[in-house]
């Protein structure tokens, strides 16, 4: 029997790898020094541990350790990247380009900058979730200072052509930032091969601890300068002040190292399990739709709409399984997913979407269990669904005059 509940929401967060915890333990106990203490043993050993972790994080993305700025997480990294470039290069230009499917940490930061007088272009995506490179080329002006496009989307797992986006930006002398939170450690990611100038990373999406992230900031060709958003003691080469979270950073380093060494085997296995889940659904259920491009996608991501079954009611029926839904009823805003909307997924189908995130610790047994539970529940709820009944009677749901609630 599988152990319940099953965690399959690995885009939201990932469990801490026991090997990571083991690496962190000394720094949560005896080795408690402040890495900025320059005059005693405690400080030295903390600093040494941080520098080792910095190397491990850099190695994962093909960077130099001196290009890694530690932050409190990806939201801070995204803020520092976008605001840092905007304020540093304000003399040069006031225009930023991003895309509508970015994480809120980018979108809301850009909206903040708009209020501060910057101009932002939010590029659309096609129905596969991909940015059109010609749209990008056309959007760049001589006032553009930054292009920020995520590598892999957190909802639909779609992977942008980052290398080409980076090439276009560099050709035009524009800095390129990518939110690589979901991609790093899951798909090949190299800042030099992919023409990336700035990249956001998060530890807890790669089996590390929460509360620690990093920003890759290119040192040469071109050298990127950022205006800090947190002022203080001048830590992290002045780009991010604040006492370093030594145990968190050590954990991040270990997590990055594990992601790098196990990379090939692990992503192949996640892909195999994800495909098993997908093909089982497609064999057993009608009227299900994959949201986003199937090929250019994170190996562990499956975002699917189960037509005529509202997402929250589906989650309620599979309450021993942790997944998430694009349904409005499950979000704080009561709006269905803006990412699915941007892909042109109708609100009716957006309400029926479920995101499965297969991760390192999921087993085949779990995938089989999840598939069976979802299939049973979808069938049961479709028996309960007036829409399924109408569709089976041949009624075109789009032609119905719906009496919206009063």
């Amino acid at each position: 029997m599988v152990k319940l509940p099953i965690y399959m929401d690995n885009h939201a967060t990932t469990p801490l790898d026991p090997r990571v915890l083991e690496a962190m333990m000394p720094y949560l106990t005896n080795k408690f020094g402040n890495a900025a203490s320059r005059n005693h043993q405690y400080g030295w050993e903390a600093e040494e541990a941080v520098e080792e972790a910095r190397k491990q994080i850099a190695a994962l993305i093909g960077a130099d350790p001196r290009e890694i700025v530690i932050t409190s997480g990806a939201t801070e990294s995204d803020n520092l990247a976008v605001k840092g470039v905007a304020y540093m290069y304000r003399e040069k230009g006031d225009h930023i380009i991003t895309a509508v499917t970015e994480h809120k940490a980018i979108l809301d930061t850009c909206k903040h900058l708009e209020k501060d007088g910057f101009r932002v272009t939010f590029l659309p995506v096609n129905n596969k979730g991909l940015v059109d490179l010609d749209d990008l080329k056309n959007a760049i002006t001589d006032k553009t200072v930054l292009v920020s496009i995520m590598t892999a989307n957190n909802e639909v797992g779609v992977i942008q052509d980052v290398k080409e986006i980076g090439r276009i930006a560099r050709e035009r002398g524009v800095l390129f930032h990518t939110d690589a939170v979901q991609a790093a450690g899951k798909v090949p990611f190299d800042v030099n091969a992919m023409n990336i100038d700035i990249a956001s990373l998060s530890a807890h999406k790669m089996y590390g601890p929460k509360g620690v992230g990093a920003l890759y900031v290119r040192r040469r060709n071109p050298r990127v300068l950022l205006t800090p958003i947190i002022d203080g003691g001048g830590h992290e080469r002045g780009m991010r002040s604040g006492t370093l979270n030594v145990p968190g950073i050590v954990g991040f380093g270990k997590a990055a190292e594990l992601a790098r060494t196990d990379f090939a085997k692990e992503s192949a296995e996640m892909f195999r399990l994800r495909e098993k889940l997908r093909t089982t659904f497609e064999r057993e259920l009608d009227e299900i739709y994959i949201n986003g491009d199937l090929e250019k996608r994170l190996p562990g991501n499956l975002n699917m709409s189960f037509a005529y079954v509202e997402g929250e009611s589906l989650l309620m029926g599979i309450n021993d399984i942790a997944v998430s839904s694009g349904s409005a009823c499950t979000s704080a805003s009561l709006e269905p997913s803006y990412v699915l909307k941007a892909l042109g997924v109708g609100e009716d189908l957006a309400h029926t979407s479920i995101r499965f995130g297969v991760g390192r610790f999921n087993t085949e047994e779990e995938v089989d269990y999840v598939a069976q539970r979802v299939i049973e529940t979808v069938r049961r709820l479709r028996e309960l669904s007036p829409l399924y009944e109408m569709a089976k009677e041949g009624i075109d749901l789009k032609s119905v005059q719906w009496a919206a609630e009063s």
Binding site: Y308, V309, E310, E312, S313, M316, G317, S327, A328, C329, T330, L334, P336, G346, E347, D348, H351, E383, L384, S385, P386, L387, Y388, E389, L397, W402, A403, A404, E405, S406
Partner: protein, 128 residues
Amino acid sequence: MAYSDKVIDHYNNPRNVGALPKEDPNVGTGLVGAPECGDVMKLQIKVNQETEVIEEAKFKTFGCGSAIASSSLATEWVKGKTVAEALAIKNTDIVKELSLPPVKIHCSVLAEDAIKAAVTDWKKKHEK
């Protein structure tokens, strides 16, 4: 989000799921909500022409657990009531019975609307 025990019970064991013949003159059908809003309820009643007592009620709902529970409860409540009594059921009664949180009040409103729509449909069949 935590659901009340009653919502969970209705979700796991929905009462009166199914369909009544739409064309039957004694049957009234109410279809409310919209797929884009994430909630659609179909509630049907079968009325005794002599006594105006609702003898049967069926529902099908596309929506969250609270929407399913609200409509399931509505069918339970209208059964055995006269049409006039059924019309007196208020969404607030449903909220109270199911302990719905504020964000789910619209589910109870929809259930009340579904009862009214079913009665209206039944009445229409007997006009003229």
